[in-house]
Amino acid sequence: MAEDGKVKTPLLDQLESGPWPSFVTEIKKARASSPVCDDLLGQLELSYEEKRGHWKHGGIVGVLGYGGGVIGRYSDVPEKFPNVAHFHTMRVNMPAGWFYTSDALRTLCDIWERYGSGLTNMHGSTGDIIFLGTTTDKLEPCFQELARNGFDLGGSGSAMRTPSACVGQARCEWACYDTMQMCDRITREFQDELHRPPFPYKFKIKFAGCPNDCVASIARADLSVIGTWKDDIRQDDAAVAEYAAQGLDIQKDVCERCPAKCMSWDGRRLTIQNSECVRCMHCINVMPKALRPGKERGAVVLIGSKAPIVQGALLSSVLIPFVPEEELYDTLVELIRRVWEFWDEYGMNRERVGELIQRVGMANFLDAIGLDPQPEMISAPRDNPYIFFQSEESK
């Protein structure tokens, strides 16, 4: 701390200029209501000087009866910055689609001002409301006041993590199922698994309403639910003509960019060979007034994506090619339970489900969860002759 009680932050101050909103300014603003921000700025300035972080490995802290929702954090220079000696994060389960009313937002602000630093992340990259920085004693009271106001904690540790959903049918014409409702129902269904880590490692679920995947589910969720449709793209020829009239080069920018090469434009009429369409969304994206997903809607369910630690990053891959909208909830609940059961039994410590599948092989995984192999699950069959023929089949 500097003598006059106010820290000097010459390096951080340089991040207050420029057109992009500044997190430094935010921390300084919060000083008004919370003294800890001074020490946070101080420690951060120190990190900027030394080019190294000053946080210690988090310890296990939390609220009664929950195994997660809080990330413990301690300064490694507490003598210098006593107010951030303890600086835990609370993860608060966001409302589906990240919708708020001004009142709801103010309620959250009041609570966090009372119990914490007054600093937040809106939102964390799993989707939670992140309350940045408080002490162990504040966790429980803060949690209960949140609860009284209708908010619960999010996930951390080896638990189901806070599921998230794209804005979906609330504001998007392309949502092939109700992402927000589905996220809400699944989150409630598995409250116990969310709050009390029962698994070998974390399990994330994300709901995207269409193949644009606006929540990055295919890259960032152990279970990725992506809306799609089975029937033909709905087409409004008049609207197509309008786009053409407005100067859209339908041949170049639409037909030639179609990955299935199943569209043709003769200058007047657009023809889509829907049987070849792979539901990529591109043509619909470019002409939202003219083209829309079909009416026979549902979702493709994919499994296994994650960041690289430690066996290398994975993308989710197709597990169920199509589930009709009306069967989606029951199918997912059933599927999730089976996957967890298998993972629980065979998953190693800190092994994500995607890594488990890679280790035991997709075919064995399918057996275990009771699904039949389908060609839609693969991009190509094996190219190596190393087939483990099952002895039942050979004589």
Partner: protein, 360 residues
């Protein structure tokens, strides 16, 4: 299962999904017909009913004080009936029924330093992580680099002049909380030195089997150091992933002189046109240079500029590079191709050029 004192409230889950929805959305939920671009950061969704919902999207530093949140709330009360939301990339969106409110809202936001934009073929907010603000594991800061980079690219947020969407993400260590592995441009904090082993505390704070198992390359071996059970790291086998530190606090990798950043390009998430792709290595290492990381900012700006100049309409970064080929990418950007670019992990062999298809 856990027993809780009855008066305590637990396991209630998040607020009901429809609790905070504006009336116009409740009325037209699932009934949206199409949307129109109005201006950068402003679009309009039209319902089957004919009703129109206007969205104004503004930038956010993501790290927000309650003061700013209250100000957002006040803006919402003033212009959007108290309704707003945040996006999956951490921008804030105001949901207006009255088109007339768009301009005044934009003015207030911009005046306060919250640019409006990020829609369509623009650069949107940078998905990022905690960095020195809150994480113990970081090889660099997150918010500071994001601020410096977006200051330099802000015009691409407020305009829609790129060939396609351009998504940038940052993660401050290999855990990749920002899930940067599928971004058009990814900025990734990296360590370049093996963990220092704190032999004195290690036996107390770490489980040896877990620690040894945590190393993907098997670089960690048990070793007795002055009587105490500890470990050693075979330095030649360490690729600095930090997984050992995640499971054991006595294995810090932080090293001011050697920590820094790497740049990755060409990833995508959407299924639009091409399938989702991982980001690939562009620049193995850039120095950690706070407060404004000029080397990182310049590298990112250069890649964006070259892409903007050469890519075709609706071509994402990765789609453009695949069309012109990686050799051309390195040529056009002037980025040096090094031994580090050649994969040597699990599936390395599949990244070798296994055909005679070559451009000269």
């Amino acid at each position: 299962m856990s027993q809780q004192p009855t008066k305590r409230i637990t396991d209630i889950g998040p607020p009901p999904y429809d609790k905070f929805l504006p009336p116009i959305i409740k009325r037209n939920y699932g009934q949206w017909k199409y949307h129109e671009r109005i201006a950068p950061g402003v679009f309009c969704h039209v319902a089957e009913s004919g009703e129109r919902l206007y969205t104004v999207r503004a930038a956010s530093p993501r790290l927000l004080s309650v003061q700013t949140l209250r100000w957002f709330a006040a803006l919402a009360d003033k212009y959007s009936g108290g309704h707003l939301r945040f996006t999956s990339r951490n921008n804030v969106e105001f949901l207006l029924e009255d088109r007339a409110n768009i301009e005044p809202l934009k003015k207030e936001l911009e005046a306060a330093g919250f640019p409006v934009g990020g829609t369509n073929n623009a650069i949107s907010n940078i998905v990022h992580t905690q960095g020195w603000v809150h994480c113990h594991s970081s090889a660099t800061d997150a918010s500071g680099i994001v601020k410096a980079v977006m200051d330099a690219l802000c015009h691409h947020f407020t305009e829609e002049k790129l060939p396609a969407k351009l998504r940038i993400a940052l993660a401050c260590c290999l855990n990749m909380c920002g899930a940067v592995h599928c971004s058009d441009i990814a900025i990734l904090g990296v360590h370049r030195k093996p963990p220092k082993i704190l032999h004195d505390i290690l036996p107390k704070v770490c489980e040896l089997p877990t620690l040894i198992a945590s190393c993907p390359t098997g670089a960690i071996r048990p070793k007795t150091v002055d009587g105490k059970q500890s470990v050693e790291v075979v330095e030649a086998q360490c690729m600095f992933c930090g997984n050992c530190y995640t499971v054991c606090p006595a294995m810090p990798l932080n090293d001011p002189d050697n920590d820094g950043l790497s740049i990755w390009v060409g990833g995508k998430v959407s299924n639009a046109r091409s399938a989702p792709k991982f980001s690939k290595l562009a620049i193995p290492f850039l120095p950690n240079n706070p407060p404004r990381w000029p080397e990182v900012v310049n590298a990112v700006v250069n890649i964006v500029d070259v892409y903007a100049r050469h890519a075709r309409k609706y071509e994402r970064m990765g789609e453009w590079i695949e069309r012109i080929g990686w050799p051309r990418f390195f040529k056009l950007t002037g980025i040096e191709f090094t031994r580090y670019h050649i994969d040597d992990f699990k599936h390395a062999g599949l990244t070798y050029a296994r055909s005679a298809h070559i451009r000269y």
